[in-house]
């Protein structure tokens, strides 16, 4: 597992925000809400909060400067994935007729941006004080040269092996996200999956520490 770093409250204007690093992957997440639904047409169920998510990669996030148009297929898909994962843990029924906006921006990409975004979003949601069932954490795992690998970086990811991204509710032991873009025999898949879950739990521990520290700091500020 690469080195983790989490920081809360990096965007003062937002209700909650966090910076999360996994090795050289660095993402920033900002959460606005719960607030009034801006576009009533989007509201599907007035008894639950509307969760929206936008994922973007900064133009400078990868080595070669390519224009990353907003709304390309990849970011739309990842936005959707993050939204679904977060929705599963947010207690939306407590906040009827409101909306929660999650913005995640990749500052530096080195593999595993999806997982890093989910982890950053969790921190930011917690910072915003949005009620959640549990902490959602995510981690990827792969399988290269017949060894399972945890938390793939860009080189490992682009080597062509399978990439399994898992998101779990850490305490409840429930899977909220599972993605894989290759074929893998069932028994190796189970190994890889287990490894990824272990990684998720380690991240959950770390996130809990960060949150605890943050709470202590807030406590001190209040006196």
């Amino acid at each position: 597992m690469r080195q983790l770093k989490g920081e809360i409250g990096v965007v003062a204007k937002a209700d909650g925000s966090a910076l999360f690093e996994m090795g050289n992957t660095r993402v920033i997440a900002a959460v606005y809400g719960p607030r009034e639904v801006q576009n009533k047409g989007q509201q599907v169920n007035s008894k639950e909060a509307l969760v929206r998510c936008e994922y973007r990669m900064a133009e400078f996030s990868t080595g070669d400067r390519r224009r990353k148009p907003k709304g390309d297929r990849r970011s739309t898909e990842i936005s959707l994935v993050i939204r679904q994962t977060m929705e599963a843990s947010i207690l939306t029924h407590l906040m009827p007729r409101s909306q929660i906006d999650i913005f995640v921006q990749v500052l530096q990409a080195d593999g595993g941006t999806r997982s890093a975004c989910i982890n950053a979003a969790t921190l930011a949601l917690a910072d915003a004080g949005i009620p959640m069932r549990d902490i959602v954490t995510s981690c990827s795992a792969g399988y290269l040269c017949s060894t399972p690998l945890l938390d793939l970086n860009y080189i490992e990811d682009s080597a062509g092996g399978p990439d399994v991204t898992v998101g779990i509710l850490a305490k409840m032991d429930k899977v909220t996200l599972l993605q894989m873009d290759a074929k893998l025999p069932m028994d190796t898949f189970e190994n890889v999956m287990e490894l990824a879950i272990e990684g998720c739990k380690a991240i959950a521990n770390y996130i809990r520490e960060v949150l605890l520290e943050n709470t202590k700091r807030l406590e001190c500020q209040r006196g």
Partner: protein, 936 residues
């Protein structure tokens, strides 16, 4: 501890990119020394009682790999920084050093200094990457010394003057390769030390530098930057240099930018390029494009002019323009402007230097030159120029076949310099020569390792009850199965049965040895077989792909024993229409293992009516129909002159030589094997459209068929080559009163064909799967898993398609499967070349004591002679019309009619004409016997 590694890289598209990677440092990397108690490691390759632990630098690995491979050099630490540099600079050396490191018998250890907390260093400001790496090597050496304490000496081996000085300043023991090898006091080893390039510390440097005495022979290669810009603006052309097999002074460069082959005449124009090098070529002005007459250059002529005997430093005479072709062309007034562009090499982009087999040119022993002698090495491969080597054991090497590696070739010397690698054996000795053939074709003859042998089932193997209880395995022991093979065949991988059914149809089964039941994917046995790819059949010798107990006993479908098989069973009508196909694993018990002759005799003997013979006859009639149908579809019947030797059982010398006879029984077996292969190909492709291993045979191009058409049109025969069917028909019609004519045309046609190749079905489109020769849209190899690895793969695919076994993970990795297919193609080609070379070798031995007069056919006309083919022995060779030295101008070649005539006389020779020749082995140079053909 985390460090980040930043470097700048150029992408394939030519853009420059900055890459940032994480770099983790650890403190638990073992040092690999057995005497070290601090490191917890599983393996200790470095011996506790080593005299010294050697740390080598990059250039030592790159240049002295032959020395490192010698078992005298042990206890070597390879730093990861060295390995990385080697990998970037020379992949083949990298593979060799990697093999050394993974070889358990050798005491080599890879130390990942770049990831060790104490040996990782950061690049300093203003330090070049090279200096940084040198420093890293020194730091690691020092670490080793302090880590292991003073009882073991750690020695840095470097040839770099600067590095050595700095190391000694820092208190590290450092030595050059030469001085270290000298200290080992093994004179033979010094020969292995490669000639060092300038700038390094050498002992010989001082005496060699006599600039007044040395002349520039070749033009300098252009610097790389100039070549790249020249290539871009189209002045230079890039391509692989291929030297003419019959004339080493002529080479071709296939250039994509021109779309044609560039011809290069003469060594000076080739400018030190070797066969297989990637070179940059500059075109010569058009008035220098001469039509090169196709000459057969005999190697003797080359030697006759050569009068260089080697005292030290005398090998670099003035450039000797033995450019045969050019001088002749110049003399003949009718210098036609060539259709091919002519060029010269200006730079070498990638070297293809290897080690070569050959012998030293005979020379007198130099008197008292301090033991060191310079000698010229002559490669067996004629495309390779002579190589200058230094040796201290000249007396021992003169009559031996040796291997030599090339080190450098500078502008001042006519020949490249190299160093001795190892001795194979006496020249002319059959075993030595056979080994040379094997080495030249990169065939692994090493005995199977213990790890491989450990994968074998316990012997003696018998059918176990579990095999019988297996629901996927059908019990076919009651069926009358038999096999037909060449006489003396021990590895029987196919058997047949043919049972009449009550409805008048036949049940025909092809049973193939179930090799995959014993060779499991991922085991050392499997890996070894993947590497070997195929068994190699030489005259009187077989080099197995699988260990002998498997090939000759456990898998071999011998008579009267129960064996496991993989069966394809068809129901066929008496008209050979396939009604149904069934694939199953099975248990069989063969009732007879016949030879082709035996089977043929049984079928022909009308008195025999036993069930076995009836089966044979049924099969034969079915096969005839199938064969006919296949030919209707356009399958080609090609011919080759396969030679059979009769070998003396004691001396293993050939006693008799003759053409291998093909009988109806051979064709019968072949037909069913083809059918089984096609059926299996269909089945596996249906289940695994992306990862099946198939075999295709591309159609020959127009250019390939042109020599055939020119020959046939000169004798008034028109071949239709528009499709395989048309070709097959016109070959059938190619008849005249000469009984051998048809066969000869077929042999010539066979030579124009492309090679059939294995491929992975995901790599090509369906239309490209076509097998031209068999006129089959799908084909694969299923029927010889004992001797071909492709069949093993196909067995696994078929088993997975039948849900008997799981598909090994390999098949999900497309590039790897393609890699395996490429390796199989390479191994097959090499195996073929080796068996051909082995036949050639035995022919030579046979005719050594038996000069013969025989009939031969002319197959190709050249300016100074022609190439003849001897049908009786399957030999091909040149016949010279003009005596050597006399440049043949008194014979006139008629290209259109493929005829060579002597002006003023009625003497002429045309292609396909029959001539009487005399065959005899002559030895123009000691130890270089060759078969000479002369006209009588």
């Amino acid at each position: 501890m985390l460090q980040s590694k930043t470097f700048v890289k150029k992408t394939k598209a030519g853009r420059v990119q900055k890459v940032v990677r994480e770099h983790y440092l650890r403190d638990d990397i073992p040092c690999g020394a057995a005497s070290c108690s601090a490191c917890a490691a599983v393996e200790h390759p470095l011996a506790a009682d080593a005299a010294a632990i050697l740390v080598v630098d990059t250039n030592v690995v790159l240049h002295q790999i032959d020395l490192l491979e010698n078992p005298a050099i042990e206890d070597v630490v390879l730093l990861s920084v060295v390995l990385d540099e080697v990998k970037n600079k020379n992949l083949s050396v990298f593979n060799r050093i990697k093999a050394l490191c993974s070889n358990k018998a050798r005491r080599f250890f890879v130390f990942t200094n770049e990831h060790h907390r104490d040996t990782y260093i950061k690049e300093m400001v203003g330090e070049s990457p090279n200096d940084r790496n040198d420093r890293a090597i020194r730091v690691a050496t020092r670490w080793y010394q302090s880590h292991l304490g003073d009882n073991i000496k750690v020695l840095l081996i470097t040839n770099d003057r600067d590095n050595k000085r700095k190391a000694i300043e820092e208190g590290i023991n450092a030595e050059t390769v030469e001085s270290y090898v000298r200290s080992l006091a093994q004179p033979g080893l010094l020969d292995l030390v490669a000639v060092s390039t300038s700038g390094d510390v050498t002992m010989e440097d001082a005496e060699d530098l006599r600039p007044s005495k040395r002349k520039v022979i070749y033009s300098e290669h252009k610097p790389m930057s100039e070549i790249t810009s020249g290539l871009r603006c189209g002045i230079y052309h890039q391509g692989k240099l291929r030297v003419n097999r019959y004339n080493p002074f002529e080479a071709y460069v296939g250039s994509e930018s021109i779309g044609d082959e560039i011809v290069i005449h003469g060594r000076s124009n080739m400018n030190r390029a070797f066969d297989g090098d990637i070179v940059a070529v500059e075109l010569l002005p058009q008035d220098q494009w001469h039509e090169s007459k196709s000459f057969i250059v005999d190697d003797d002529e080359d030697y006759a002019e050569e009068d260089v005997h080697l005292a030290p430093n005398s090998a670099d005479d003035a450039p000797r323009n033995t450019n045969h072709t050019q001088s002749t062309v110049a003399s003949s007034a009718a210098a036609v402007v060539s259709s091919h562009p002519v060029g010269r090499v200006v730079g070498i982009i990638k070297r293809n230097w290897n080690s070569y087999c050959g012998s030293l040119e005979p020379m007198p022993m130099p008197a008292g030159s301090g033991g060191i002698a310079h000698a010229l090495f002559v490669s067996k491969d004629r495309r390779i120029p002579k190589i200058r080597i230094q040796t201290r054991q000249l007396g021992n090497l003169l009559d031996k076949r040796i291997i030599v590696a090339v080190d450098l070739w500078d502008v001042l010397s006519r020949y490249p310099s190299g160093h001795y690698v190892r001795t194979i054996g006496d020249i002319g000795d059959k075993d030595t020569e056979t080994e040379v053939v094997l080495i030249e074709n990169d065939i692994n003859t090493r005995p199977f390792s213990t790890q491989v042998l450990a994968c074998l089932p316990p012997l003696p193997w018998t059918l176990s009850p579990e095999d019988l209880a297996n629901r996927n395995r059908q019990d076919l022991r009651h069926v009358r199965v038999f096999s037909v093979d060449p006489p003396g065949c021990r590895d029987i991988d196919d058997a047949l049965h043919c049972t009449p059914l009550p409805n008048g149809n036949f049940e025909v089964g092809v049973h193939i040895a179930d090799v995959t039941n014993f060779v499991h994917p991922g085991t050392p046995l499997d890996e070894e077989a993947t590497q070997r790819g195929t068994s190699v059949y030489l005259v009187g010798q077989r080099i197995d792909m699988l260990p002998k107990p498997l090939t000759e006993d456990v898998c071999s479908l011998r008579a009267d024993v129960e064996r496991l098989a993989f069966s394809v069973v068809w129901e066929m009508t008496p008209h050979a229409d396939i009604i149904s196909t069934r694939y199953t694993k099975s248990v069989i018990k063969s009732c007879a293992a016949m030879s082709y002759v035996e089977a043929q005799a049984r079928m022909d003997d009308s008195r025999l009516v036993d069930p076995l013979t009836v089966d044979l006859r049924n099969l034969n009639s079915l096969a005839k129909i199938m064969r006919h149908r296949r030919c209707e579809r356009g399958a080609l019947t090609l011919a080759s002159a396969e030679v059979k030797f009769e070998i003396d059982s004691e001396t293993h010398d050939p006693l008799d030589i003759g053409i291998y006879q093909i009988r109806e029984a051979n064709q019968m077996i072949e037909e069913f094997m083809l059918a089984a292969n096609i059926s299996v190909a269909e089945k596996i492709l249906k289940h695994f459209p992306l990862c099946s291993l198939l075999r295709r045979h591309p159609s020959p191009t127009k250019e390939m068929l042109e020599p055939l058409l020119r020959t046939t049109s000169s004798v008034g025969l028109n071949l239709d080559v528009s499709s395989s069917k048309a070709l097959a028909e016109s070959l059938d019609n190619a008849k005249n009163d000469d009984p051998y004519f048809n066969k000869l045309i077929r042999i010539l046609a066979t030579r124009c064909m492309t090679q059939a190749v294995y491929f992975c079905s995901g790599d090509l489109t369906f239309s490209e799967y076509y097998h031209y020769g068999l006129a089959a849209s799908l084909y694969t190899h299923f029927t010889s898993p004992i001797r071909r690895y492709a069949d093993v793969i196909v067995h696994r695919l078929l088993a997975a398609a039948l849900d008997i076994a799981k598909l090994p993970p390999l098949f999900q990795d497309g590039p790897q499967l393609t890699g395996i297919a490429d390796n199989l193609n390479y191994r097959h080609r090499n195996a073929q070349m080796a068996s051909r070379a082995s036949v050639e070798l035995h022919t030579l031995i046979y005719f050594r004591t038996r000069p013969t007069d025989t009939e031969a056919r002319i197959v190709k006309i050249k300016a100074n002679g022609f190439i003849v083919f001897v049908p009786k022995f399957g030999i091909e060779g040149p016949i010279y019309l003009t005596p050597k030295g006399d440049k043949g101008v008194d014979w006139v070649v008629d290209e259109v009619h493929q005829r060579v005539t002597k002006p003023g006389t009625s003497v002429s020779y045309a292609v396909l004409q029959t001539v009487m020749i005399h065959m005899e082995v002559v030895e123009p140079q000691p130890h270089r016997p060759k078969l000479q053909l002369t006209l009588i």
